[in-house]
């Protein structure tokens, strides 16, 4: 019988590969989610009804649907129209849309919470709407939603573990493969839990460092 450490030594490359996929897919989803979420937020707050309504529907449906269902839907539904995006693409898409919807809604709340007097003051000094947005509103909103962004990133990393259900070889699926060979079940689940914990604590620490660095709080 191999010891846990023996198995770990043998499978460290595999584990590292899984970890890389977890980090990359989460990173991509958060980055793309921020961009898309910013667009969602602006559309929800300042968009005309024609623009705001469909975004509202997307955001509400996504926020009311469990992430796992989003992932399965992104994985299975495209087949209906003859597409087969593959598990990694489908999973990244699901996480991105999930991330974007949460950020969009948070951003809308933050923008609406900025007093109207700020917009008035900006117009009074002659800024256009785009300038007002860029120089006055968005910087204030970012301060508001910074802690939320960190939470969302943590949620995305956790949700990425669900990609194992559609066969993405991320950290959890890799862990399960190793367990399948070695039967060191609790040890490797504990290890995987520890790695997720480490990633998320790193995100939280990095987030509060950035907040301090840019005096967001």
């Amino acid at each position: 019988m191999q010891s846990f450490l023996d198995v770990l030594a043998l499978s460290s490359d595999q584990l590292l590969h899984g970890l890389t996929i977890t980090v990359v897919v989460s990173g991509v989803a958060v980055a793309a989610g921020i961009v898309l979420g910013a667009l969602f937020g602006l559309a929800l707050t300042y968009g005309s009804a024609v623009l705001a309504f469909p975004v509202r529907v997307i955001v509400d449906v996504v926020r009311g649907t469990p992430v796992l269902v989003l992932i399965l839907a992104c994985f299975y539904m495209p087949a209906g129209i003859g597409l087969s995006p593959g598990p990694l693409t489908a999973g990244a898409l699901a996480l991105t849309v999930f991330c974007a919807s949460h950020i969009g809604e948070t951003l809308r709340g933050a923008l609406l919470a900025i007093p109207l007097a700020q917009t008035d003051a900006a117009s009074a000094i002659g800024l256009t709407f785009a300038q007002t947005l860029g120089y006055v509103l968005v910087p204030q909103a970012i301060r508001q939603i910074a802690p939320n962004l960190v939470n969302t990133a943590v949620e995305i990393v956790k949700a990425s573990s669900l990609l194992s259900a559609i066969g993405v070889g991320e950290l959890l699926l890799t862990t399960q493969e190793i367990i399948g060979r070695s039967f060191k079940t609790m040890e490797f689940y504990a290890l995987a839990g520890g790695i997720y914990l480490a990633i998320n604590l790193l995100i939280a620490t990095g987030g509060s460092w950035l907040e301090r660095r840019y005096r967001l709080r």
Partner: protein
């Protein structure tokens, strides 16, 4: 495109989907009930307890909130029998859900407790209540009411998290949807339906909560 929507297969499986939904709600409610008990005790320990108790609570919250619930569930699934605890998949998942919810609810109740104004605490002390008296008779009832919106949001999250039980073969809504998906290949209809059921249920829960909140005054 060439894809014609046909809900027949989904409708045939509607019973299973709805039973799955009910199972999710039951697991969610169980998780909420036990999780609230954990959360209240842990929040009291954090706000009023000695330093070691605070540390334990902080470790619990920090650990559970940063690890995916699926990893916790899989771990529990294999760990519990080692301690001679033989739970069904459903009970195991509900138990994990409770521990998971407990961590989030600890934060909800803690936030509600620490926002009780100092003057109210002073008033409690000035009539001669001890620290635990103030905690129990003054802070706790106020915090329970004021945490209600946050607890409600937690319940909605919790209900959505019950979908993850599908991965360990608990026959709830997502599991049933995937089964119909694999048997009928009505890939669009089944996920539209599943999503609709989740979104609708979440909206109903939110509406019920708002009515409940309106009935009790916020302090």
């Amino acid at each position: 495109m060439g894809y014609a929507l046909d809900f027949a297969a989904v409708l045939r499986g509607l019973d299973q989907l709805l039973w799955g939904l009910a199972l999710g709600l039951i697991m969610g409610l169980a998780g909420l009930a036990v999780g609230s008990a954990i959360g209240i005790v842990a929040a009291l320990a954090h706000v009023f307890g000695p330093q070691p108790a605070r540390t334990v609570v902080r470790l619990y919250v920090g650990l559970i909130r940063n690890v995916p619930i699926l990893v916790l569930a899989l771990f529990a699934f294999f760990a519990l029998p080692q301690f001679g605890i033989q739970f069904s998949n459903i009970t195991t998942f509900a138990a994990v859900l409770a521990v998971y919810a407990g961590a989030y609810l600890t934060e909800s109740f803690r936030a509600a407790m620490i926002t009780v104004p100092q003057g109210i605490l002073d008033a409690g002390r000035s009539i001669g209540l001890t620290g635990s008296g103030v905690a129990l008779w003054v802070v706790l009832p106020i915090a329970l009411r004021n945490a209600l919106p946050s607890v409600g949001n937690n319940f909605i999250s919790l209900f959505k998290d019950t979908s993850i039980a599908a991965v360990i073969a608990v026959p709830e809504l997502t599991f049933q949807a995937r089964k119909i998906n694999n048997e009928s290949f009505r890939v669009i209809e089944v996920w539209l339906t599943a999503s609709f059921l989740y979104v609708g249920t979440c909206a109903l829960i939110a509406l019920t909560l708002r009515r409940l909140e309106a009935r009790f005054p916020k302090f």
